[in-house]
Subunit: 324 residues, 2 copies
């Protein structure tokens, strides 16, 4: 089978591609070719991978990728929330027009072509005020252009699926922690930072109160969601093709206690509390907790607890160290 | 003030335009010009009206209409559910691209231009399975391309409003009854037909059971919703600019009893029961009842009861007879 991965150079896209190349199979079928695409050319050493770079807002680029008739398409390519908010046109071009080009390219394949399309949506499709635990029938009322674009993509995916043009599943990823790499400017960055930096012996700043709760999943769980979405029986989804993924709802206080359990008081001592009203305001508008019942029924599996998430990060770092 | 009405030749658009021309004012401000646009040229005799015909899927057409800087824009133009389902491309072109052109034309007006945009959405943004009475936080999971297009337009309207490009309100109209005119092939046509035809001394076919419940509003109530959406204080809506309008939830049995009360047993005897499994299946997927709390709090007013809806139709028919 042939697999197309849009956004293969991103953190989750790279991990997904590596997992597929390691498994060499998806849903019991051998993988014979992987097309890895991103705005910068992804780098994989496996001979079954063809890497390319380009702009998914360019119709001809997307047409050419889909012309190879991939059996499964993972669409993870998008610009992030902050950039979509500051560059309104670019956000709609990349995050919405890119999806439209993809859907139309698949539809142009005709009756004989009916691939599985796995789209990474986001819990940013939800906006405050919320229910206590957001259920699967809660409205999408995004408070960002990024969330709006993701919500529209979900609607299009469900409609193209209902019309029989493709077999789509949209998965709303929780915030992925622990993200590897350097601290970044994202408002959600501290969720990873207060674990990643202390584990590396460095100070981390906590800009919000200990009672802040958020919905999280590990990078490995995110890859697991993508694989399951690509291989599951989609009949049970009916016409509602967007699913909130099962994360774990954890408070900052619980994250810190998990860090203490795994790495001791010295690690926790590296967290410096320095409230940032701007970040506090942004975070207060984010969803805290979901009851992702449909996804759980459909076989998606959350992380066991936050200690497991930390341990998975430590194992990842060790593996990276071995590779480099 | 200048008003632009897209879809001014349709049933609700015509009634809205007539009401505005009769009032000669909107929200306490004198109306000096009305641009009435539709796919067929609307016909109004008032000298303040400029009528034109065209395709809202054509960007230049929409740009030219918005270039006149209307203070209030009513966007009622769309192809109907059945046509959007059979002609997939046309549905997206007219119902989605038309809206995109409109939003972009307004945004291109810059900081000094910030019109009120009233968009007629539909309860077709909802799809079964439903809650018993659908609340204002229930998800949009449409089961038609038409409903998908309306749901996407709502999301765009909210995002363009949130970004400060315009001041938008999307109103989800209930099924409008009693529609004047001849019976049509729409699956919902019988809701009007079982009242309209007997009142005109003609037989009407009832293709569903008496226990079918649906969410309805009179043409006059629909016009009232549009006027209120154009003049209300939108502050209370926050970022959620789409509102389910307050209809009345009525069963077919209750409709028939209201007809009996207004027009007697002879009228009711003209209703012939002839079940149609195709229509029954379609109707079973439609929402039955809503709790439109936000709209009621925002001052939108429903019809009093179904007897009032019938009486309003009789008065409309009498007025039409006088005019012609």
């Amino acid at each position: 089978m042939r697999i197309l991965i849009l956004g293969a150079a991103g953190m989750v896209g790279r991990k997904l591609t590596e997992r597929l190349l390691a498994d060499k199979a998806l849903g019991g079928k051998a993988i014979t070719a992987v097309d890895a695409f991103d705005v910068v050319e992804p780098s994989f050493s496996d001979p079954i991978v063809t890497s390319s770079a380009g702009d998914i807002a360019d119709k001809a680029t997307v047409d050419a990728l889909v012309a190879k008739r991939p059996d499964v398409i993972f669409h993870l390519a998008s610009i992030v929330s902050g950039e979509a908010e500051t560059d309104f046109d670019k956000g709609y071009r990349v995050n919405l027009d890119g999806m439209t080009h993809l859907l139309e390219a698949i539809r142009a394949g005709g009756d004989a072509y009916h691939p599985r399309l796995v789209f990474t949506s986001s819990i940013a499709v939800f906006g405050a005020p919320f229910e206590d635990a957001i259920t699967d029938t809660f409205l999408s009322a995004p408070l960002t252009s990024y969330g709006t674009q993701k919500a529209i993509c979900e609607l299009l995916l469900s409609d193209y699926t209902r019309k029989g043009f493709l077999d789509g599943v949209a998965i709303r990823l929780p915030t992925v922690v622990v993200r590897p790499g350097k601290p970044n400017k994202a408002a959600s960055g501290f969720f990873s930072g207060i674990i990643r930096e202390p584990l590396a012996g460095q100070e981390a700043i906590l800009p919000v109160g200990d009672d802040v709760m958020h919905w999280m999943a590990s990078p490995a769980a995110a890859v697991g969601f993508l694989i399951h979405a690509a291989t599951m029986d989609t009949e049970i989804l009916g016409a509602r093709r967007a699913l909130t993924m099962p994360g774990i709802a954890v408070t900052v206080a619980e994250m810190i206690e998990a860090l203490r359990q795994v790495a001791g008081d010295e690690a926790v001592a590296l967290i410096r509390r320095e409230r940032d009203p701007v970040i506090e305001t942004i975070v207060s508008g984010w969803p805290r907790k979901f009851s992702a019942d449909r996804a759980v029924e459909a076989g998606f599996i959350a992380d066991a607890d936050f200690v497991s998430i930390i341990r998975a990060h430590i194992a990842d770092m060790a593996a990276e160290g071995t590779k480099n």
